[in-house]
Subunit: 99 residues, 5 copies
C-alpha cells in the first residue's frame, strides 16, 4: 500500500452500472515525509475519508476486496485512514497533531 | 483509476475471437490539470465514450469487471465519463463548461 | 493495452511444461506515432502475428484470458493485429498502406 | 519479489473491517547492495518481521496468498525474512553478520 | 515476460510456511542486447535454472501458475531458460554459443 492525501472529488453520471453509489476521491500520492510525489490516483472510498486526510490505498485486484468494490471495475481503493506513521524512530505523521 | 482524454480509435480485424464486438479507443493520459502526461492507452469502451471526452479508466484484472470485457484478454477499460473534477477546492474540469 | 511491433522470436526448450507449444514473440513497444519507446516484451502469440506487424498486447492476468495462455505462467499476450490507428483525426497507421 | 528494510510502523483505527488485526510495517526498498532506492511500501506483516530487518515482499494479488491477508484489500506483504543474499559469488548480506 | 540473468541466491528460513521448499534466485534484468538494465528481481525457480543462465520470467498473478508457486505469496517466477533469442534478423543470444 502507499500513502496519499485526499484532495478532491470526481463525479461521473455516465458509468458502468455496477459503480452506482461508489464515491470517487482524488488522492495525491505522498512520500514518508508527507511530501507530494507528483502522482495522483482516483480511488473508491471504502472508509468514509474526508478532504485533507492522510490515507492508505491499495491498487490492482486488491482494490476489489471490499464490500463496496467487489466485482466492480475499480483498481484503486482507500482502505484505511492513517492515525500515526512512525519511521526511523520519529513520528512523521500524527492525525491528532497534524490532521 | 486514472484520467484520460479520448483521442482516437483502433481497428483490428484479426484478433482473439472473444474480443469480437469490443470497441477500442485510444486515450492520452492526463494529470489533474487536464494536461497530457505523455502516456497513452488503448482501452475497451464500456460506457459509450466519444472523441474528446474526459474519462476514467481502470487497468489490470479490474478492467475485466464489466459485461463487455468479462473473461477477455483486455487490460484497460473506460468505466466512467467524467462530469466534474474538483481538486483543492477548485473545479478543474466541468463537462458542461469545458467538454 | 499498448502497441508494439513484432521484431523477433525466442526459443526455450527447458520451460514450465504447460508452456509447451506456445509461441514466444519479441515486441518493441511503440508510441502513437509508431516510434519505439525503448521498452520490449516477450509475449505469447494468440493471433498468428508475423515479423514486423503492429500489434496490440495485454499484460498481467488479462494475458491469460486466451485459449493458448489459460492457466499458464504467461504475463503478456498479443491479442490483436492492428489494421488502422487513428489519432486526433489523422490515420497514424494503416496496415494496407504502411504494413 | 523485491528486497526492503523495515523502518517503521503505521497505525490506522478507521479501516476496512477485514483488516482488523493486521500489522502494517513501513519498508524502504533496497537494491542488491542494500542501498535504499528511494521507494517505500506499507506492507502487511505475515512473518513477524522486526525493525531494521531485511525482508522479501510480494505485491499485487500475490500479497493476498497468506492466511493473514487472504481476501483482504492488501497489495503488499512481507513473506520472508532474509538470512543470506549472495550475488555474483559474494555474500552481499548475512543476517548473522550484518543484521 | 522479460529477460534476466541468474546472478545469485537468497536464503530465508523465517517465511510464510507455504513457501517451504521453494528456491529463490536473484535475477538482473537485461535488455534485448543482453545488457543489464539496472533492475533486479528475486524469483521462484520453476525450471531448475543455474547461475549465469539467461531466463524468461513472469510476474504478478501469472507467477503463481506453476505447480511450485500455486497459491503461494510469490509474484515472480522463472518459467523458461532461453535457448535462442533472435531480434531484427540477428541472433542476439544462443545458449550453445554464448551460454
Amino acid at each position: 500500500m502507499l500513502l496519499g492525501r485526499v484532495v478532491g472529488t470526481l463525479v461521473a453520471s455516465r458509468k458502468e452500472p455496477s459503480l452506482e453509489g461508489l464515491k470517487f476521491l482524488v488522492l495525491k500520492q505522498t512520500d514518508l515525509e508527507g511530501k507530494e510525489t507528483g502522482g495522483y490516483l482516483v480511488a473508491a472510498d471504502a472508509v468514509g475519508a474526508g478532504m485533507g486526510e492522510v490515507v492508505l490505498y491499495a491498487t490492482g485486484s486488491s482494490a476489489r476486496q471490499t464490500e463496496a468494490t467487489d466485482k466492480r471495475p475499480c483498481d484503486g481503493v482507500i482502505m484505511a485512514i492513517v492515525d500515526t506513521l512512525e519511521v526511523d524512530g520519529a513520528v512523521k505523521y500524527d492525525k491528532a497533531r497534524d490532521g
